[in-house]
């Protein structure tokens, strides 16, 4: 890494650390001093260790997964506006979850993460089968269509099973409410998979920017690389959706910021993207918790409100190139 990247990396890292400290200190109860926070973590007792720390960790991992997933997806489709939210991956997870919550009721609670993961993977597989081939445009539009279809079915289910719809709607909004150590354990292997896999493909995937022909000429085996990219980005998004529900705009916005800070080289922008994603979701969750307790604003909503203006700025400025 060049020196400027190292400085920026340290900058992002300290921002993340600062947010983490704030997130652990503040909440619905009185603010804790840093000493008390450390004390509670070391003794493994109190509100910080039991609730705030696992929730903050979950938020960070969810953000990391979504952001890296978005970055890989944007490289795969060579389209800066692609994101797991729009291409049907999160919609698939949402559909499976809504079915589980509404049909299965209380029974579904403990399996919800696995059901969501399964749903997202199934839809991702369908998109791959229907949309693969030379044209990224077709791939994207296939994802868009399946996403719309899934949303239509979700709405149908919500309206037909209205009494229990609120629970499903909250899940769909994307919230980190009540996430604990169980979720941290669930996410950890996927975070590892996405990070390691991301770094591994990064060495191969850079030439994709230049188009399929040039990439092939440079010795990249597209038939292997493309499924790998899709697999990684789906794994990240599906794991994140399974734990937190659909937190949108992270996978869309964060890769842009990461590319601005780190340049187009995936080997640098993937770590940046992961850190920034973690920072973004953690910030959103903390703000949502602290703004007006005891009412919690879902992190997905805050992400949308933070991300949309930046997206508008990108569109207006025409800075939507990879």
């Amino acid at each position: 890494m060049k020196r400027q990247f190292v400085f920026r990396f340290v900058g992002v890292l300290s921002l993340l650390a600062l947010t983490l400290v704030l997130s652990l200190s503040f909440g619905a109860t009185d603010a804790l001093s840093p000493g008390a926070v450390v004390d509670q973590i070391l003794t493994g007792q109190g509100v910080v260790y039991l609730f705030r720390l696992p929730r903050a960790l979950t938020a960070m991992m969810v953000g990391l997964c979504f952001a890296i997933s978005g970055l890989l997806l944007q490289s795969l489709t060579r389209n800066p506006l692609a994101s797991p939210d729009l291409l049907g991956v999160t919609a698939g997870g949402g559909l499976a979850t809504v079915i589980a919550i509404l049909v299965g009721g209380a029974l579904a609670g403990s399996y919800i993460t696995w059901i969501a993961f399964l749903g997202a993977s199934v839809v991702a597989a369908i998109i791959w089968v229907l949309g693969r081939g030379a044209s990224a445009q077709r791939f994207i539009l296939t994802g868009v269509a399946l996403s719309a279809l899934a949303h239509a079915v979700i709405t149908l289910l919500l309206v037909t099973y209205a009494p229990s719809a609120a629970e499903a709607m909250i899940w769909l909004k994307g919230s980190l409410f009540g996430r604990g150590w169980v979720h941290v354990k669930l996410l950890l292997p996927w975070v590892g998979f996405v990070c390691l896999g991301g770094v591994a493909v990064a060495y191969q995937a850079n030439p994709l920017i230049l188009g399929p022909t040039v990439a092939t000429t440079l010795g990249i085996r597209l038939s292997v690389l493309r499924p790998c990219l899709w697999l990684l980005s789906v794994a990240g998004a599906a794991a994140a959706v399974a734990v937190s529900g659909t937190i949108g705009f992270v996978g869309l916005i964060v890769p842009h910021v990461a590319r601005r800070l780190a340049g187009p080289d995936l080997r640098v922008s993937i770590p940046f993207s992961g850190l920034l994603g973690a920072f973004f979701v953690l910030l959103a969750d903390t703000v949502g918790r602290v703004l007006s307790p005891p009412l919690e604003i879902p992190a997905g909503l805050i992400c949308a409100f933070l991300g949309a203006p930046y997206f508008g700025y990108l569109l207006v400025k025409g800075k939507t190139d990879i």
């Binding site: 389209n79 506006l81 692609a82 994101s83 939210d85 729009l86 229907l130 949309g131 044209s135 990224a136 445009q137 077709r138 994207i140 539009l141 296939t142 868009v144 269509a145 399946l146 719309a148 279809l149 949303h151 239509a152 079915v153 709405t155 149908l156 919500l158 309206v159 037909t160 209205a162 719809a165 609120a166 709607m169 909250i170 769909l172 909004k173 949108g248 705009f249 869309l252 009412l295 604003i297 879902p298 997905g300 909503l301 949308a304 409100f305 991300g307 949309a308 997206f311 508008g312 569109l315 207006v316 025409g318 939507t320």
Partner: protein
């Protein structure tokens, strides 16, 4: 221009479908205690609203596709519907109770104008090929959708009623609704027929249009404004009903060719047929429960979109 596959038969069959849906809406269903009342105050306005909304949505989709030069443009996918919904939900929550439909229309217009402006900017720069425009529009749609459902969640009191409305519904349509939609559709339709010749030229591209003395930018502003007006009134009356605006123009151009002078009547009729038939199905398929008509059109429209995407 593509040859027309069958102009007159398709006009006739669309009209027949509308009549059929009308028959089922007006005379079908269980007999009511007060036939006079249910016929004039419930069924007739509902049927007429469905017809007018369908025609308006078909026209709106056509207009957006023309303005963006993108065959996949559609009010729901470009975010026009959802931004209008957001403003209406805001009004409903701030105003409390049930405000006058005219105010809802104003709110929907305000919201629709936001995404209309964005669409104009994006189609003017020319840097937005098909899938990018759709993705940008979807992102707007996604944002406004999550913002309005966030508002709904934070204010749970009338969640169910609003939830039903945000799925697109025609139940409870009144004469006022019918008049509102008709009042917006009539001028929009008249302007469309008057401009149809110029729009044909716009299809050739901006340079050709300029060469023939037509200002493409001014025309585009006009077209998007009309589309926003139509979408806004439909949202204010019935909530977001998606995908009518993509199925109808495509079918119509398949049947009637690209000439707007021939295509417009067919678009209006086909839109009316699609929504009124969907409404009949929405009431009967899961009887006694009612499916929101917007869900039904999306269930038809999304596979069609998928099919179109495969053929690109």
């Amino acid at each position: 221009m593509r040859a027309a596959a069958g102009y007159r038969p398709s006009l006739v069959s669309a009209a027949a479908l509308v009549l059929l849906a009308g028959y089922f809406t007006l005379y079908g269903g269980p007999p009511s205690a007060d036939p006079q009342y249910s016929f004039y105050q419930v069924r007739l306005p509902r049927f007429l609203s469905a017809v007018l909304i369908g025609a308006a949505l078909g026209l709106a989709g056509t207009l957006l596709q023309l303005a963006t030069r993108n065959p996949l443009s559609e009010p729901e996918l470009l975010g026009v519907n959802q931004s209008a919904v957001f403003c209406v939900v805001l009004l409903l929550l701030l105003g409390g109770g049930s405000p006058h439909p005219a105010f809802m229309l104003l709110a929907a217009l305000l919201g629709g104008a936001v995404s209309g402006l964005a669409i104009l900017l994006m189609s003017a720069s020319g840097a937005f090929p098909r899938e990018r425009l759709i993705l940008a529009g979807l992102t707007m749609s996604f944002f406004f959708g999550s913002a309005s459902s966030g508002l709904l969640l934070l204010n749970e009191t009338n969640l169910f009623e609003l939830l039903h409305w945000t799925a697109g519904k025609l139940s409870g349509a009144t004469w006022l609704d019918t008049v509102l939609v008709g009042g917006c559709l009539l001028p929009a339709g008249v302007v469309s027929f008057l401009r149809a010749g110029q729009w044909n030229v716009l299809l050739l591209g901006d340079d050709q249009a300029r060469g023939l003395g037509i200002d493409p930018v001014a025309r585009r502003v006009e077209i998007v404004s009309l589309a926003v007006l139509l979408c806004a009134v439909c949202v204010a009356v019935a909530g977001p009903i998606g995908f009518v605006g993509i199925i109808v123009p495509h079918l119509a151009s398949f049947m009637a060719g690209l000439d707007y002078r021939r295509r417009l009547p067919l678009i209006l009729l086909m839109g009316a047929a699609l929504v009124s038939v969907s409404d009949v199905l929405a009431r009967t398929l899961l009887h006694p429960a009612e499916i929101p008509v917007g869900v039904l059109t999306a269930l038809v429209g999304a596979p069609y979109f998928l099919y179109r995407a495969q053929r690109l």
